[in-house]
Symmetry: D2
Subunit: 209 residues, 4 copies
């Protein structure tokens, strides 16, 4: 079976962990008979996208789910759209701080996700995890990665389910902050697993793609 590719991020913004990688690590090694491949990405514009696209070309995965951390969000959120804009509030881990620049010059203004959004959200909720659909993935490294992944899907004309999911901070991260929602990594992983299983079960080309 083709693998499912999950990506997570390294810590950033002074944190010692990144909730996305904690959740990806908490996943089982196989979902719906597909072996899992986990890729840890740097919080860097450009390079995170390069590494993800390279892995897609090498692995030819059945499904790609990139995961990011969203401080302030209370639920697992499935992202609907990636914009062709980079706009950093803080420098990335390599010191880059793009302002109102395109992810890919000349690329389309945006790509909609290749995940069956409503079905995936329903599957994650059925697994007992608060989950919503988000209409903005921000303009930071997460959005850039999602755009790069969907651009590669479009380029390869490969109708695979691919998208981006944000997870809340872990409780340990939220301890040092004020009134921040959090979620245990095992809980977030339950949602990710359900989303991947749902995405892989949708064998036919999607309405969404």
């Amino acid at each position: 079976m083709q693998p499912i590719l999950f990506t997570g991020f390294e810590p950033f913004d002074g944190e010692s962990v990144n909730a996305s990688w904690e959740a990806v690590r908490a996943l089982p090694d196989e979902i719906a008979d597909h072996p899992l491949r986990r890729l840890l990405l740097p919080v860097e514009f450009g390079r995170s996208g390069d590494l993800a696209v390279e892995a897609m070309r090498q692995l030819r995965p059945a499904c790609v789910i990139a995961v990011g951390e969203a401080a302030g969000r209370a639920e697992v959120t499935l992202e609907r759209v990636a914009l062709n804009v980079e706009c950093a509030r803080i420098p990335d881990n390599a010191g880059a701080e793009p302002q109102e620049q395109p992810v890919i010059a000349g690329g389309p203004d945006a790509y909609q996700t290749c995940l069956p959004l409503q079905a995936c959200a329903e599957a994650a909720r059925a697994a007992g995890v608060p989950t919503a659909i988000s209409n903005t993935a921000g303009l930071y490294v997460c959005n850039q990665l999602m755009y790069r992944i969907l651009h590669e899907v479009a380029r390869a004309a490969a109708a695979i389910p691919a998208g981006f999911v944000h997870v809340p901070l872990t409780p340990a991260q939220a301890v040092a902050k004020l009134a921040m929602p959090s979620m245990e990594s095992v809980t977030a992983a339950r949602a990710l697993k359900a989303i991947a299983a749902q995405a892989c079960s949708t064998c036919e080309p999607f309405a969404e793609c």
Copy 2:
């Protein structure tokens, strides 16, 4: 050793569980060498207070921690104060819906908690759980219960640590709601355990009481 008395609530407002009781159930049977006594209370003005006070008189606990569910809050919150006011937004489980009435006619306007607030918050955070101090316990059954417990402490002139802690919804509860923060019951219970241990370790009469 004298027991620690923990109270939790029955479900209300159309829910099938109450996060407070789930957290209390997830506690160990002994904390800091004190045996635990768990009391499940109805979400009813008056009767919940009666039952708690009755248990305090029978058990003569070393410490009383009442726990309630706070939809919308992201952290475990230690309540600072109980007001001598009942004001219900929805009817309680017995149909009562008091509006701007005192909990105890002629009682003081408010009681401050008998828990060492800052030390307890710090202990819960050290246990890895996002925890804050709240300056309002609302005006519903929770506040009424806290007022009744502190009134009994004042009446008995018994300088025991006693107070109220709100816990977030469980993930399963938040699934059916929109953008609601949640916390696993085992996580909330870690905070409750740390709070009780801290409260019991403060043997001398408190500045706070």
Copy 3:
């Protein structure tokens, strides 16, 4: 001089006014020497877009600013992007309730605004009005209208500044709601005027368009 076209919406969702039309009505009749044309639109998928596009073809405006009401937002918000998706939480004023449908079948996934975003936000703030850039215009009638306007700009290959601005509820509307931010219509109009003046002063084709 070519006119500036401002559109606002009729009331919906049980309201008796719509904050967007109140703000548009509070505008002066001329901005930066351009006469103002105000168009009141129904809160209806399809028809609101049809009417706006028709007005654009007839008036050949120098600038198009569509305005909508955003309950819950505290600031005037300039929208960055319109998605090719309709997804209604409540029926529109004609009873339509599309779910995950495209605004224009076969259209691009999204259009970025043709307003100079950062400059317009700065101009509105300089006028003393709290203003931010929003990365999601929702999926209701507002987003649909914005998409239709930008699709027409793209179709006509007319590099005019065109975009969408959300305004908060009016104080009178917020009175009946709970903890809702609001803004006086004259305050919101100060921001709209500054935005239009800034947009018109950017004579050359935009980087953004």
Copy 4:
């Protein structure tokens, strides 16, 4: 006629105005036939309370309404209760930063307001201003002032309406902040006027006092 005493605060926390004083300044010079007396107070624990109590003794007002600024709140809020606690997040304008100290050593844990809360909230809403009742005035200089005023009312056994009202930031203040609700000072003043008129029309001793 006895005057109505309104107090507002000087700027603090790096601001150049304080929304409370802007609103008090925007009030008419007479409300319900009572002349207005305005008192500008320093944002200082202790001294602000001293000055307010001194003014109460000199003026023997028919009504006292202290006003403060509440960044983050969207509505005018009538405070229900003042706690006998000072706990500063930032130093006051004299550099004091009390932590978990009483306002008045040996004073009661809290005082409930002497304003007819529900009637005053209703009057402000009837004047078109979003208004709510708040169950916490915080633990900073505002709460301390409210406690001092109500302590003086209790001491003098003078059943006058007296209480505290928080107003949102002004739009000009919110411009420099992120996603902060605001309210024009003239709008906030409409609410303050309605609240004072309602309080003065309640001639008989209050249930609340």
